[in-house]
Symmetry: C2
Subunit: 198 residues, 2 copies
DNA sequence: CAATCTATAGAACATATTGTTGCATAACAG
DNA sequence: CTGTTATGCAACAATATGTTCTATAGATTG
């Protein structure tokens, strides 16, 4: 029975991933190679190849690490605007100030040609959608929104704009923008309530 | 005086770019190299290096070609909803069915590490913003919207969501989605008119 | 047309990246 | 203590990315 893994495996993995993430943040995807991680950790190149047979394997591991590091717990105390401002503020901080912000563009980049990277980004986004959905659902339960309102398009708008500004348009994410954005989403949620039912 | 360029230069450039774009669409960025373009055109590798000294130079040239191919002329006859549905329909078609749709993710990808690619995507997006802005401005002139309405956030929402769905979330762009999206943007434009002034 | 540039083709060379393999050594598990 | 397994090291191979040189074909100018 192998309930416990060889401690050497664990040590190699954790050290290598840590170094890979550091390289990823500081010098970009291209700087993450078996050779560079080897140099940074002292782990031999051949060992790294044994753990991650290809470059994409190695890099996607660093991607996953970056994607799981930010803390995205939603608050659902209400009112809607407060909760939305909170979760989008967390997203803003994550994009501006954490590893994920530096790494996300590179994951999107890799996702264009690599399925592992695509799965990293897609599952990350699914979690983000869920965070926002919880908030809308809580607003429904409090009676702030009608229960049959279709919130999916609202969720996408809430999350799409910050990513678009950061990744595609090269525009900044600051407090002013956030306030306007939250106002618009709330405006839309309440005004659309009269028309947008599913 | 050199008002006319050597026809050999022009021939080389046009053939190489055409081949590069084809490779870009069919096999992805990674397939665009001096060697592959040489094989496809018969132009010698050394000549290609003379025209585009680095891989990025070569690829960005193909990017620019893809970015200028779709036709994005805005219609501003009104009403707002009709014009918006038109321009976003053009964008939908471009992302689903043209070279740009296949290439855009790879340009975004490259933009993460390459400034030329960043400039390609940023100027492309600036043009898209302008298309939508014309439509809102026309609506203002017709009196459909108050003249002091701040349309920038609306423009960003209109354009951000399709790109986000395509590039980041891996969601489809279809007619149903388009209709909902246009409705929401119009809803927001008119309802926000009471609150969102600049 | 002749003389002179200029772009291209082709091949040889250089270097870095991305792995692969075999073997000795060190660490672990029972 | 004994077999098993992960690691370290060095050598090797294939490919990608350029560079440089020379001969030739094509363009331009007078």
């Amino acid at each position: 029975m192998n309930t416990h893994e060889d401690p050497r495996l664990i040590a190699t993995r954790t050290q290598a991933i840590e170094a890979a993430l550091k390289l990823l943040r500081e010098k970009g995807v291209l700087a993450v190679t078996h050779a560079s991680v080897s140099a940074k950790t002292g782990i031999s190149r051949s060992t790294l190849y044994r753990h991650w047979p290809t470059l994409n394997d190695l890099r996607n591991n660093a991607f996953r690490q970056a994607a799981t590091s930010p803390d995205f717990a939603a608050r659902t105390n209400g009112p809607l605007k407060t909760d939305l401002a909170w979760i989008l503020g967390v997203l803003l901080t994550a994009l501006n100030d954490t590893a994920w912000g530096q790494v996300a563009p590179q994951v999107i980049a890799a996702a264009a040609t690599d399925d592992q990277a695509k799965s990293v980004i897609n599952s990350f986004m699914a979690d983000r959608f869920e965070n926002v959905r919880e908030i809308f659902n809580a607003a429904k339960e409090r009676g702030e929104l009608p229960t049959d309102l279709d919130v999916q398009p609202l969720i996408e708008m809430a999350v799409a704009v910050p990513y678009f500004r950061k990744l595609v348009a090269g525009l900044p994410l600051d407090a002013d923008w956030l306030e306007t954005h939250v106002d618009l989403i709330c405006e839309l949620a309440t005004s659309a309530s009269t028309t947008m039912r599913r």
